[in-house]
Symmetry: C2
Subunit: 446 residues, 2 copies
């Protein structure tokens, strides 16, 4: 925690800037989506529908009330794609990028906000970092578009094919999960491409690259194959990401998709394992997955992607820190550690707090929605986990829910994208810590 | 953590003593329950049924495969009651009590084991404490028996009535949840007494007294109404216990039992709120409660009672420490605190570890049972939460489960009663901590 001198008035923290930035973009996006030209019907969406869609796009969630391809016009889809790109990259990244490109001087306040937004370890070199992030993101998205274009051009013609390739490349890279394949069948996501290798591989690659975080790219770029030289955080992210793709894929292969032919079974198992930790596309009908499989997806959705990435959720590092904390307790070590690096005690407190917040909000939201909508609890929990993990997978109930449930999902999406701590730090004004004045007293747990 | 010099061989830790103690009593109990005279049929139970029942009794859980009243003979019921009393008071408490009463000298090792078993803050005065615990427990159980006797004597005659009063008093005080009312209708628990004020008040009082912990009694005895003078831990326990009785009762009153007449509604709401945090009696048919209500009960079951009590589960203090940790993070304090006392960082790591372990085991167990038995996930999760919280509430599936599921429940009951950390400390030999040798490195969470 840095302590900065500040005047009592007119002070706005970097956390508040991030929150206000997200809120403004959501509001502007909602108004744009209410324009008559945004919907195919030519009537414009209601405020609550527009707000839900804009929040879902900016928070890169992908939960939708209306099928994106059949309800929104090309203009509306363009707005949604723009909101995804802004939300995915982080509003501040975009803002400072523009400032940097336009040659204006960037102040310390902006740099510090940047640092919070991309979860960088320090303020130094933040502008260089931002340029690297922007360049990499655009390159990856364009490569993704180029690879996807032939498939979509074959299916939808040249113009629409290129638009589809761009839309899905950006949506996958930003882990947004919005799709336009609803023209085949509304809300069908990528199920019609479940055995198409190019679409499978490209979308999975984009999801993973987008989800491991900007700082991990830097490590990969700087240290290539020398894994030992990576930052501890990058090592943790890559290890956890790999594990959380492989293990669920094995489960899905053996227990969920056993009636499929071999090739489809492998693709489907792998894709359904990559997607729940915040991407939100699906190539299998999730309502047909067993309740145990749905619960596994809920756990993956709550876990989410990695910090400083386009992904939301509790974060892979949070889970890793908790596991490492447990191992240190089991082995009676005084400190938790990863790859021979000690984890600060403060980080463990933060991780425990985030874990508790996610579990509480996900359960409370699901129980309220299940109660007022009279739907099965597991279905409601699936939807709230999807919202708070900014995933966008759905068992199909979102369009039918009432306004209160939609508001709950909007709040959960916002919480999941902005990050619980950012939200709370923005709400509660900073104070010097004084807890240590109190004498220590033991309390027994467990 | 105390560090003690020890020889490499023949060393047995207090954690190992506690585990071995519980295991021996369970094994002896199982063998006794296999005797032909233990069952009404005169054939004796199978080993797996006897093991399940003995584990359930020693771990004061109350999950049963056979209805206690109709399957077991008076001898079998006596064995079960003895196992409940031993398990509830803690094996070590009993062992050392006997030693103390018989006038033998008690060594440091025994005192230190005692300390772990009753979660006392220090070794000093441990024998005096044990006598106080034993005296209080017996007094409370006898008072409970005396109050319940008239009701049961009216319903079942003098001899059976007194036996029933004793059985239910001990079972309630030890938070065991075993009952003999199955003579009216098997597995009906206390539903036939749902509007009987004496039974309601007495059982609830016994549950609460047994569940707040031995050390809290001491505080209440020493400081009577001077709440400010209480230990921080006692304050936390009483506050959390009160909150976790009141809030769920309000929910149950308004959302679950609204079709009942007023008096029954109040009693039922209150009783169903007191019982899930490890007692396990029920006065309402839980299969009729909504899924949201069942989820609320699952959360209460996982939370459990208070440390150093007859109750199991994750413990009220663990929940409180996590909430306090979250508040300290929100307010950017360097340390978590309660009632102007600082909580050691170590305790927060332990609490996060226990929370993670309980959630993981409860989910994993429920998912496996749901998968292999092909039952709804929420029903299976209800059963695993009941086992790991040593509660004993059931949606009625336990008797029908297969041997693998029974083994999973046995392991969860044992884990819940012994406490996850005791189990792991017993398995992993102590080592000096060396984690601090590593340099610290930041990692971003959430
Ligand atoms: K998403
Ligand atoms: K119980």
């Amino acid at each position: 925690m840095q302590k900065r001198k500040k005047s009592k008035h007119y002070h706005i923290t970097s956390f508040q800037i991030i929150i206000l930035g997200f809120l403004s973009v959501i509001l502007i996006g909602s108004l744009m989506l209410m324009l008559p030209i945004a919907a195919r019907s030519g009537k414009g969406a209601s405020f609550s529908d527009a707000l839900f869609t804009a929040t879902s796009a900016v928070c890169v969630t992908g939960l939708v009330i209306h099928d994106t391809a059949t309800y929104w016009s090309m203009f509306g889809q363009g707005i949604i794609l723009l909101l995804i790109q802004i939300g995915g990259m982080g509003i501040v990244t975009i803002a400072v990028s523009i400032a940097a490109v336009s040659g204006r001087k960037i102040g310390l306040m902006q740099r510090s906000t940047m640092q919070e937004a991309i979860a960088a370890p320090n303020v130094g070199g933040i502008v260089r970092r931002t340029k690297f992030i922007l360049k990499t993101a655009i390159s990856v998205e364009l490569i993704g578009t180029a690879v996807l274009a032939p498939v979509f051009c074959r299916d939808f013609g040249i113009f629409k094919g290129i638009w589809y390739a761009l839309f899905h490349s950006v949506s996958a890279f930003c882990n947004a999960g919005f799709d336009l394949i609803g023209v085949k069948q509304p809300f069908s996501s990528l199920t019609s491409y479940s055995v198409q290798p190019v679409v499978n591989i490209t979308i999975m690659a984009l999801i993973i690259i987008g989800g491991i975080g900007f700082l991990t790219w830097e490590d990969i770029k700087n240290n290539t194959w020398h894994f030992k030289k990576y930052r501890m955080q990058s090592k943790v992210i890559l290890t956890v990401t790999g594990t959380l793709i492989l293990l669920p894929a094995i489960y899905f292969y053996f227990f969920e998709f056993s009636q499929m032919p071999f090739a489809e079974r492998v693709w489907t198992a792998l894709f359904q394992s990559v997607t729940p930790r915040t991407a939100g596309f699906n190539t299998a009908d999730l309502t047909r997955v067993s309740e145990v499989g749905q619960m596994l997806i809920i756990i993956l959705m709550l876990t989410g992607g990695s910090p400083g990435s386009t992904a939301g959720g509790m974060k892979t590092t949070t889970l890793a820190v908790l596991v490492s904390c447990a191992l240190s307790v089991f082995r009676k070590k005084e400190h938790a550690h990863f790859f021979k690096r000690r984890i600060p005690d403060n980080t463990i407190r933060n991780a425990a707090t985030i874990f508790l917040m996610y579990i509480t909000l996900f359960l409370a939201g699901g129980m309220i929605i299940s109660g007022i909508e009279n739907i099965p609890l597991i279905t409601a929990l699936f939807e709230t986990a999807s919202a708070i993990g900014t995933v966008g997978l759905s068992l199909g109930i979102t369009p039918e829910l009432g306004i209160v449930s939609h508001m709950i999902l909007i709040c959960l999406m916002f919480f999941g994208r902005v990050g619980g701590l950012t939200l709370i730090f923005a709400a509660i004004s900073e104070k010097a810590s004084n807890g240590s004045k109190y004498p220590q007293e033991k309390i027994t747990v467990g």
